[in-house]
Amino acid sequence: MALLLRGGRVIDPAVGLDEVCDVLIRDGVIVEVGTGLTMPKGEEVDCTGRIVLPGLVDVHTHLREPGREDEETVASGTRAAARGGFTAVCPMANTEPVADEGAAIRYLVEKAETEGAVRVYPIGAITVKQEGRALAEIGDMVEEGAVAFSDDGRPVADSGMMRLAMDYTKRFDVPIVSHCEDGGLVGKGVVNEGVISTRLGLPGWPAAGEETAVARDIRIAELTGCRLHVAHVSTAGSVRLVGEAKARGVNVTCEVTPHHLFLTEDDITDAYDANFKMNPPLRTAEDAAALFAGLRDGVIDCIATDHAPHAPHEKALEFELAPFGTTGLETALALVTTNLVATGKASWGDVATWMAHGPRAALGLPEMRIEAGQIADLTIVDPDESWEVGAEGFVSKSRNCAFLGHKLTGRASDVLIGGYFALRSGKVVV
């Protein structure tokens, strides 16, 4: 089957491409990129006025299956991903039970094959049950398809265990994704320690609690030679530490979430809205500015959502009791287009770097470039579509979105995976 994407603005900095042209796809592979292309037979898609990007990937998602299918499933989560313009997601291992063995990875891979709307590259747990006491069967999980390892949700508290894990994992040439949190410094913290924690009388989560852990993990990565990817950096100090480590030649990458880029602790008012409760917490405006600078300067490699769906009755609890997290798959791209591209702070090429190439490179996923011979994983964006978050509901099963009610400009209209539509004209293809 042939598919011709006609007249879109095709952008891929990896191949120096930014022009209005056509993309011809056959049997799931890009055959040609150029102007005035023709095909004898097949389907033509008019992409006038739209942006064609290499397929976006979210390297930090929580699909909640198995265990919390009321909050999200592989099916609903991947559909939400497609709606948000993603061609692939990396689900974290903190399910119930934890994905700490090969069989659990295989379960996910098989589920994704039958019910997934986008590609799924599972992340396995570092330690058994993510308890930080015993190493999980890393090798077995790699065999079954795990692309990285993380105890995300929690840190690996014991430095000795992190060293062991990194020493062991390095031979598989996959990264350890670290949730950096020093439990002793953080305690019961639920909001950034500082102005807001004082004013609202909530336990504080100091920036130093992340930075000491980032410094520790960088040093252990350096010691062992293991690849390290720092999850959801949220402070200026963390950005500085990663930047210095990269300058020294340490093999470290990191990601930032849209909520840390575009929200701050000042968004948490005395309404005590638990949709603003995240881990790590929303930080100061200075931190947010440093995060953007880090992205721009390449210290931060990619944007990842940390999509964390939660049941409404749990998010409706008292602030200190509510679970951490916001959903993010359906809003990430639009937040970037609205806050960065539309304001001139970033280009579409940056979007491709931060949401397509950067994530793939950081986690060692298959590369994808818009040129002949590449698999047709593409994201097509309508840069002008205006929409309000939550106005028509969510594709995700959960509604706990920190950006509820925000008016955004720009939205994925189509997603192609291996040449097949996962999202077509704004509707998820089932």
């Binding site: 924690s197 005590y272 008292e318």
Partner: protein, 311 residues
């Protein structure tokens, strides 16, 4: 009438509101001293004490206040843990709402709970203490006590001594003092101070003995040894030596200066027994004024609108 429908924190009260509450409380104090300590003013209204964190004194104070205004004061105590054991706060609120309560006073282990109730219920909500956040009626009765004892509030220097970072009493008292033109000073070791005391608006001192001679009021907070996250100072003995109010310290204060404590007191720790029982200690006056001030708060919140009192 007050400027806000609810009293969740001192942010809901401006200086006019505070003046009105204190003035009204004086009339109620007078009623509390006669034989028939009852007024028909809030007859027939239902006032609920939703105390999800244990408290005897504060709850009793509110209960007596409601009954002296002829309202039906009702106590609802429950586990404050919203786990499988107990009903969730939202369901509790829905239940109370369905029973048409006219005023709810809530004390809760977690900050923000009173605010949640305002979204679920139509009646006014009074915060009786939420987590580490605020305890506005305590601050009001403290102001009332100070005014009665010292004759005025403006210009007073009030030292608040103790675990400021874990004190909702301080969280309300500091802004309250500023609104009436007094100067709050928090006095504690750095480990007991919040991350940003400047946000609350108080001056900070680590050394009690240095500021003692300037104070008009020494307000001692209870030191809790039972803190889950460990003692933030070496021992009670050390704390009492450096920060405890004892006779020697009291003698070094201005002669008219007074000592206060929100209770319950740890005699021998933050306040010595002889100071607690001395004439310069206004702890019992605080308790007494608590009922009058809470009556004033109830009266001012419930007057007007369809309170249902027969015309």
């Amino acid at each position: 009438m007050l400027s806000s429908k609810h009293i969740l924190s001192m942010d809901d009260l401006n200086s006019d509101d505070i003046a009105r509450i204190l003035e009204t409380a004086e009339s109620f104090a007078e009623v509390n001293e006669r034989r028939i300590k009852k007024l028909p003013t809030l007859r027939g209204l239902t006032i609920v004490n939703l105390f999800l964190e244990p408290s005897t004194r504060t709850r009793m104070s509110f209960e007596i206040a409601a009954k002296r205004l002829s309202a039906d004061g009702v106590n609802f105590t429950a586990s404050s843990s919203a786990t499988v054991k107990g009903e969730s706060l939202r369901d509790t609120a829905a239940t109370l709402s369905a029973m048409n309560c006219d005023l709810v006073i809530v004390r809760h282990k977690y900050a923000g709970a009173p605010r949640m109730l305002t979204e679920m219920m139509d009646c006014p909500i009074v915060n009786g203490g939420d987590g580490l956040h605020q305890h506005p009626t305590q601050a009001l009765l403290d102001l009332y006590t100070m005014k009665r004892a010292l004759g005025h509030l403006e210009g007073l220097k009030v030292g608040i001594v103790g675990d400021i970072s874990h004190s909702r009493v301080a969280g309300s008292l500091i802004p309250a003092l500023r609104k009436v033109g007094a100067t709050p000073i928090v006095i504690a070791p750095p480990t007991l101070l919040p991350s940003r005391p400047d946000v609350l608006g108080a001056e900070v001192a680590w050394d009690l003995d240095e500021v003692l001679p300037e104070l008009d009021v020494a307000y001692m907070l209870r030191i809790q040894m039972e803190r889950a996250d460990g003692m933030p100072f070496p021992s009670l003995r050390e704390y009492a030596r450096l920060y405890g109010m004892n006779a020697a310290r009291m003698a070094r204060m201005k002669p008219e200066a007074i000592v206060m404590h929100p209770g319950p007191m740890n005699r021998g720790v933050e306040i010595s027994a002889d100071v607690a029982d001395s004439e310069r200690s206004f702890v019992l006056a605080q308790v007494e004024s608590g009922v009058a001030v809470r009556m004033a708060v109830m009266y001012l919140l419930l007057g007007g609108g369809d309170s249902g009192v027969a015309a």
